[in-house]
């Protein structure tokens, strides 16, 4: 029978000290009574999730129930809470799930399925009776007086260890409900507040502690502190849980019990076994995921068709279609596909005509995500023996020297969107201009601001006659910026960039 229970949980539950702790704590009924009060009042405090009120959420919930093979539907509510969280209350087959409005607002469908699936996992694996006792564990301080601190410390340690393992199990349930471990990882990233890529931070979990081990020698007081602190933690064991999930998703157990999770993860991570898939079952799964819009599977399949590997026939039109479909998706593999198409444009490839401008856009857009620097990407433009590799956009522009005040001023004046980084900007008399990654924003006298993309500038290349001693810098017939005062930051940088990019 297939199971997603983490082995550490099974091990923890079988320890005699765990059972002793459960027996000892079972005498404390007050908190369980409080749970029942919660049950009876939830429907007066929160919005119920029904098909009529929240069709999207209800649909996700129903799918999660089916994926985890639940026959019963439990009442679910939405609480008004900024955090991304869910909780389950109740016992004896009568449960209530509550999810926060922050989660509904910020998570995508798969992540919501993972969040709900985690709660269903807690219910399905019988965690709730222990979780309730866990809440009562503060009373262990009183019990310690009777059974001794050493015995109480042992119990605490066993409970903490089980609690952690139960979270590992719940994550697996979340992955089963969502059909992907990436959804659970996305959920954890969101709970850490770093789901959306911001200017300053990105998510790259690291590991330098053993995910299954606890700190050595947790004594009685240490255990109490541990519990208190964990209770205040927004995403308990978040980083180690990611590590555990990844291990599971690439294991033979996962492949046997939940092949859809295994293959989907493999397609996203370039798992060697997957990429070298030759058996019909794996190839069948790859096609299913690719055809359902999974960029990882589409990219991998596209490359296999282009090269005619792993038992697939060489079929360039089909391969290109898969690559294009991957490029339209989301995530890292979509960037790989965009990069690949950029290379096809650079060189011209089976029905794709050479187009250097498109190549430049696609390669520079995707290079960083594909683990290449922008300068590496621009090495791709070393065509016809002209070496432009060192004169990259970044190399020419360097880091921005625009102050925060100037940045604000030029953004307003030239209508520069926030998504653009300003590298150089200055104004002379009634002229103002700013150099950005997508092009040049400029304004003349009382006119409206004008945006001149690099694509246009490349097509209408600057030539020496325009920028040597001329009054204005031009791209074709479009005036860009005054040259008369010599080394204006914008003109000088624009010329340098063009000198770097234009085929000499």
């Amino acid at each position: 029978m297939r199971s997603f229970v983490h082995p550490l949980e099974t091990k923890s539950r079988n320890l005699p000290i765990f059972n002793k702790a459960i027996k000892t704590l079972s005498g404390i009924a007050a908190d369980i009574a409080a749970e029942n009060v919660y049950l009876s009042t939830a429907n007066r405090r929160y919005f119920p999730v029904t098909e009529e009120l929240f069709p999207r959420l209800y649909g996700i919930y129903r799918n999660a129930l089916d994926a985890l093979e639940f026959k019963t539907e439990f009442p679910m509510f939405i609480s008004n809470e900024y955090k991304i969280e869910a909780s389950t209350s109740g016992g004896s087959d009568s449960y209530v799930i509550t999810i926060s409005s922050g989660a509904v607002d910020r998570l995508n469908d798969e992540e919501l399925a993972a969040l709900i699936g985690r709660e269903l996992g807690h219910i399905g694996c019988g965690h709730m009776q222990y979780k309730q006792l866990f809440k009562a564990v503060k009373n262990i301080a009183g019990i310690a007086g009777k059974i001794g601190k050493a015995a109480a410390a042992g119990m605490l340690s066993a409970l903490i260890s089980w609690n952690k393992a139960s979270e590992f199990t719940a994550d697996r349930a979340g992955a089963v409900a969502a059909g992907s471990v990436q959804a659970v990882i996305g959920l954890i990233a969101a709970q850490n507040g770093i789901k959306e890529k911001s200017t300053y931070i990105d998510f790259d979990p690291y590991k330098d502690i053993d995910s299954e081990e606890l700190p050595e020698n947790i004594g009685f007081l240490g255990g109490m502190v541990f519990l208190e602190m964990m209770e205040e933690t927004s995403c308990q064991y978040g980083i180690t849980r990611i590590d555990e999930l990844k291990k599971w998703a690439s294991s033979s157990e996962c492949r046997a019990d939940y092949p859809q999770i295994y293959y989907r993860y493999a397609s996203l991570t370039y798992n060697e076994t997957f990429f070298n898939a030759t058996d019909s079952e794996q190839l069948y799964n790859m096609h299913c995921y690719a055809d359902n819009g999974d960029p990882g599977a589409a990219y991998s399949l596209g490359m296999l068709y282009l090269s005619g590997k792993n038992g697939l026939p060489e079929n360039i039109p089909v391969g290109l279609e898969y690559i294009k479909s991957a490029a339209l998706g989301e995530g890292k593999k979509a960037f790989y596909a965009i990069y690949a198409i950029g290379i096809f444009y650079r060189d011209g490839f089976n029905g794709i005509a050479q187009n250097l401008n498109s190549a430049w856009h696609m390669i520079s857009y995707s290079a960083e995500t594909c683990g290449r620097s922008a300068s590496d990407a621009l090495k791709c433009f070393a065509y016809d023996g002209t070496k432009l590799s060192l004169n990259t956009f970044e190399k020419v522009c360097g880091k921005t020297d625009v102050t925060a005040e100037a940045d604000e001023k030029f953004r307003r004046l030239l209508w520069i969107p926030k998504s653009e980084q300003i590298y150089r900007a200055d104004s002379i008399g009634k002229y103002a201009a700013a150099i950005c990654l997508s092009g040049i924003f400029r304004k003349e006298e009382a006119g409206l601001p004008l945006f001149i993309p690099w694509e246009y500038i490349l097509e209408n290349c600057l030539s020496a006659e325009y920028y040597n001693g001329a009054d204005f810098l031009y791209a074709g017939k479009t005036r860009i910026y005054p040259m008369e005062r010599g080394d204006t930051a914008v003109s000088k940088t624009a010329v340098k960039i063009m000198q770097s990019l234009i085929k000499k």
């Binding site: 900024y82 300053y200 931070i201 990105d202 979990p205 240490g222 927004s234 995403c235 978040g238 980083i239």
Partner: protein
């Protein structure tokens, strides 16, 4: 971000009141007892474990801008090893110190999103200066008292609480100085004092500029007029807040800037 990083000695950025309060804490036997208690119960290890297993660490790879601020700040305040830095999901405008002997910094994610690079540098610099001034140890002791105070003898707990409160009241002065020294922007430093009390948008409306407190001046003057006449205000401050009132912080910062100019 910074072309020429200026190095500041401890005498410059650590406020004398702050130093005196911390010296007094360590001269107190109660602090030795609590430090032994922390060590005997492995509390620092537990604290570190929970952070490492639950929160995302920001690295040079994932957060180059933050890391650059961190490196520059360490150089500025001569901190030998670069501390770890974590992100925590919260809408509150706060940054905090964690750990004790191996301190680290925590930045709230919504905060990171809403501030510009200069402010970020100021925030991180103020935390680095705090580490250098020994605030991490003080804050850890405060945290331990809050968590397991009931397991410590009552008298010891009260003595420690008084000494730690005194430290907490004076720590912000060092933090304010460091923010100012790193950014050299008076208006931003004053705005930052409002940090987690009101939203940035509202703070902007005080029109605090480079050399004066703008609209906030009226409140500032009112405060001191009242303060000079009513000693109850001091009592109120002790009851309401563990930190000095903002006008007092501004006054202390002004004095520092004047002193530095001389």
């Amino acid at each position: 971000m910074l072309d020429n990083i200026v190095f500041f000695s401890e005498d410059v950025f650590i406020d004398s009141r702050d130093k005196a309060a911390i010296d007094a804490l360590y001269n107190n036997d109660a602090s030795k007892t609590i430090l032994k208690f922390i060590s005997d119960n492995g509390l620092e290890g537990i604290y570190e474990y929970i952070y490492k297993s639950s929160y995302a660490r920001l690295t040079e790879n994932t957060s180059p801008v933050i890391f650059e601020c961190l490196k520059n700040s360490c150089e500025m305040f001569a901190l030998d090893s670069i501390p770890e830095i974590y992100a925590e999901f919260s809408y509150e405008n706060t940054a905090s110190l964690g750990g004790m002997n191996k301190p680290f910094i925590t930045l709230n994610t919504e905060y990171i999103r809403t501030v510009d690079k200069k402010t970020l540098l100021g925030i991180i610099a103020s935390k680095i200066a705090e580490i250098k001034a020994g605030h991490a140890q003080v804050r850890f002791m405060m945290w331990v008292l809050e968590m397991v105070g009931q397991y410590i003898p009552a008298l010891l707990s009260k003595i420690l609480t008084a000494a730690l409160d005194e430290c907490e009241k004076n720590m912000v002065y060092t933090s304010d100085r460091a923010f100012y020294l790193a950014t050299r922007n008076y208006g931003l430093t004053v705005q930052q004092m409002f940090g987690n009390k009101i939203s940035k948008e509202m703070a902007d409306r005080f029109c605090i500029t480079d050399n004066k407190c703008g609209e906030y001046c009226f409140q500032y003057d009112d405060f001191f007029e009242y303060k000079n006449n009513h000693s109850e205000l001091h009592m109120l401050q002790s009851i309401l807040s563990s930190q000095p009132f903002i006008p007092v912080r501004i006054e202390r910062l002004n004095a520092f800037i004047e002193e530095e100019a001389i």
